[in-house]
């Protein structure tokens, strides 16, 4: 007989384990199917971290169970009623009492509960009512069993099996309640079968087999159903949580995308600005180069012209000397006299021309004396008016605060006269407006970058514009070259503007020209404002408003603070300057009563001028404030930060305006 290679020894322990595993799998209790769901194995209620979800589950269970429950009630009534036919067939003698139980007791109960399902409070009592219904319907059948036993009918126990089927499945009772009702029915049947109806032993055993087995099977089904519902709920919850997580991740992602987009947009903007700045500075550089080239060219021509002028003067000297002497000796009636006079006149013209060349090449001797610039401008205008065609209108706007500058009046006269003559010439055919504006400005670093020859400081500015034919770029570039002219032959030497250029350069000033063909031309002359001029000769009416108060002057550019200090001290004020807003604030905190006025630049690193003023006003509300800014459009945003009134000065600073505003602010109550 062949011997098996392996003997399987199956003991009772192993059998138990196999059975247990099968049961667990059937009920759905295995870890694979229930995951990490924690619950009470008997009542099935959620425990541990899921206990918070119990009421939510019950609520959800109720919502889902309500309609199936109603349906099962209807079904129960149909079945309970239909079995009345069985009563009539099998136990006609008990028919009446059975029908009484069915239709007078059980039916009203089922109907009442059915009606009650439409009330809100039903939610709270649903499970309890299902238990009661199970028990009441079961109890009705038990009464019928007891009564049936009298006539040896023991078959009605099967009705209880139907009730178990209903109770554990359709009625949607929870496992624990259905089991309670089930076992109560079992107990009630045992009591009635053993003690009341005296059921024969074999029938009792037979019935109990079917009856208890169906109750246990019902329990297992109920257990499995509820567990399955709970697992569905749990899975749904897990899914919701995962969805929430995904949503959260999505939202974080969206935020990051938005943030990154914002950063990119900002970077893009910065880049654009940088490009703009570069293009601008490139343009400025190229303009400066052109200016410098023009200046060099003019200077070279000037040097050349100067050299020629020297020789010319030497040549003209004997011509003029001898003709003068000859004219002295020639008798009045001499025929040579006319010829000699012509030679002399020509030599004088030559002399004047050379004089102009020398002015252009800065070879003339400059004698600087106090000059009332405004007076000269008015003189020239009056002079011109006499011979001006009436199609040309002269407008003037002269800042009376200019006072006196150090210059040669002849030179100033020449500048204004030459520029005006040119302007009038440009408008002689169609008329127009000659506009002369005189004021003083504070030239800052920005302006010095645009115009060659200028340094940071205060300048008298003469702006002379016409509405004449204007000029193109090429003409504009050569306009200051000597002998360059667009006038027809004989109407000008071509030296006028080069002479103006020479004079202005000689005074360390600058001249610029802007022009649009067909629209007109604007000449701007800058002459340094000389503070160290002879104050004694200046009448009090020419003076700018002065004062003795202590002023705190703040600007992040050292040059500007230096200039501001010099300028304000010349007006008599005591001045403390700071180039850093924080330092200025510290200084003010130490001596809040010392300063009557704060003059501050608006655009500074760390703190805006208005912010600084606001902080200082909190310490001393009486502090007067003047804000200097280059950008008027930005000021509307900042007015909030200052508590109280303040004045604004726009860059470039006009000296007379500045001095007046300071006085006005200080004199305000």
């Amino acid at each position: 007989m062949p011997t098996p290679d392996v003997y399987y020894q199956i003991d009772s322990q192993t059998m138990m384990n196999i059975f247990k595993n099968m049961l667990i799998n059937f009920l759905g209790l295995s870890p694979e199917s229930s995951g990490s769901m924690t619950f009470n194995k008997l009542t099935l209620s959620f425990t541990g971290y899921l206990s918070n979800y119990e009421s939510e589950f019950l609520n959800d269970y109720y919502v889902k169970a309500l309609n199936p429950f109603r349906f099962s009630l209807i079904l129960a009534m149909i079945f309970y009623g239909a079995f009345a036919l069985l009563d009539a067939a099998t136990v006609p003698e008990l028919k009446k009492i059975f029908w009484l139980i069915r239709f007078a007791v059980v039916f009203p109960v089922l109907l009442s509960v059915f009606a009650f399902t439409y009330f809100k409070t039903f939610r709270r009592y649903m499970q309890l009512l299902i238990t009661c219904i199970m028990f009441i319907t079961g109890f009705g059948i038990i009464v019928m069993i007891i009564l049936g036993a009298r006539i040896y009918n023991y078959s009605y126990y099967a009705g209880l099996i139907l009730i178990f089927i209903f109770g554990y499945t359709f009625a949607k009772a929870r496992f624990i309640y259905a089991s309670l009702a089930g076992w109560l029915i079992v107990i009630a049947y045992e009591i009635s079968a053993i003690w009341i109806s005296d059921t024969p032993f074999t029938i009792l055993i037979n019935n109990n087999f079917f009856f208890i087995s169906s109750n246990i099977i019902g329990m297992l089904i109920g257990y499995s159903l509820e567990l399955s519902s709970r697992r569905d709920f749990y899975m749904r919850k897990l899914l919701e949580l995962e969805q929430d997580k995904v949503k959260a991740v999505n939202s974080t992602l969206e935020k990051r995308v938005i943030e990154r987009t914002r950063q990119l947009t900002n970077t893009n903007l910065k880049l654009k600005k940088e490009i703009e700045v570069r293009v601008r500075s490139e343009k400025e550089r190229s303009e400066l180069e052109t200016q410098l080239f023009q200046l060099k060219k003019i200077e070279t021509i000037g040097t050349l012209a100067g050299g020629i002028a020297h020789d010319f003067n030497n040549i003209l000297t004997p011509i003029l000397g001898y003709t003068d002497m000859a004219l002295e000796e020639l008798p009045e009636e001499s025929t040579l006299r006319f010829d000699m006079e012509q030679i002399n006149n020509a030599a004088v013209r030559g002399k004047d021309l050379v004089q102009q060349i020398l002015t252009f090449s800065r070879e003339v001797n400059v004698e600087r004396k106090p000059v009332k610039l405004n007076q000269i401008v008015v003189e020239v205008i009056n002079l011109l008016k006499a011979s001006l065609p009436h199609e040309i209108e002269i407008r003037k706007s002269i800042d009376s605060g200019i006072g006196i500058i150090l210059a040669d009046p002849v030179h100033i006269h020449q500048i204004i006269m030459n520029l005006c003559t040119n302007a009038i010439h440009a408008m002689k055919n169609r008329g127009g407006i000659l506009d002369i504006k005189v004021d003083s400005v504070m030239v800052d670093q920005k302006t010095t970058k645009k115009i060659n020859n200028l340094k940071i400081g205060i300048y008298v500015r003469i702006r002379l514009s016409d509405t004449g034919h204007g000029m193109d770029r090429r003409t504009k570039e050569r306009i200051f070259e000597p002998f360059f002219t667009r006038k027809e032959v004989g109407s000008g030497s071509g030296l006028g503007l080069s002479v103006v250029h020479g004079i202005v350069s000689n005074y360390n000033g600058a001249i610029t020209v802007e022009s649009t063909p067909g629209k007109g031309t604007l000449f701007t002359v800058y002459l340094p404002y000389n503070f160290s001029g002879p104050v004694n000769e200046i009448k009090s009416s020419d003076l700018l408003p002065r004062g003795v108060e202590h002023i705190l002057f703040v600007d992040d550019e050292l040059d500007i603070t230096f200039m501001g200090k010099k300028m304000l001290e010349n007006l008599g004020y005591k001045v403390t300057t700071k180039t850093n807003s924080s330092e200025a604030f510290e200084e003010f905190k130490r001596n809040p009563g010392k300063y009557s006025l704060l003059v501050t630049d608006q655009t500074m690193p760390k703190m805006l001028g208005t912010e600084l003023a606001g902080k200082m006003r909190k310490i001393n509300p009486d502090l007067k404030v003047i804000i200097i800014t280059g950008y008027i459009d930005k000021l509307s945003d900042v007015t909030k930060s200052i508590n109280g009134s303040y004045e604004i000065i726009l860059k470039p600073i006009k000296l007379s305006e500045f001095s007046k505003v300071i006085r006005k602010v200080l004199d305000e109550n």
Binding site: G306, N313, N314, L316, T317, G321, Y322, E363, N365, V366
Partner: protein, 124 residues
């Protein structure tokens, strides 16, 4: 008769000035550069020196500078046709160095003769 020494490197100017000043009644000597002029001053000092500035050998500014220390009583008129030296020009420098009068060439005849006369008659 007052003595005038004229120094200029341009012979036509030199002869013209000599004639002009002699006509005005002065005794005029001439020199065509600074060194020659200085020799003549040392040998026979004039009442007035009229000197050009841009000249070979010894130029006018150097001459004026030297003479102002050596011979402070000498009256000096500087004349020049221009030429680049600094922003202020040669004549202004000549004035700073001690020239009593300065004249830009070409000279205005009457004005110049009058100035010479006034300067000679001035007691320093």
């Amino acid at each position: 008769m007052a003595k005038i020494l004229v120094i200029d490197d341009d012979p036509s100017i030199l002869t013209m000035l000599k004639k002009m000043l002699e006509k005005a009644g002065y005794e005029v000597d001439i020199a065509c550069n600074g060194s020659e002029g200085l020799d003549k001053i040392e040998c026979c000092p004039p009442d007035l020196l009229v000197t050009d500035i841009v000249m070979p050998e010894k130029e006018g500014l150097e001459l004026i500078f030297y003479l102002r220390r050596k011979n402070p009583g000498l009256k000096i008129i500087a004349i020049s046709g221009g030429g680049r030296f600094n922003y202020e020009g040669y004549l202004t420098s000549a004035k700073h160095l001690g020239a009593d009068l300065i004249f830009q060439k070409p000279l205005v005849h009457k004005e110049f003769v009058q100035a010479v006369s006034d300067l000679i008659n001035t007691k320093l």
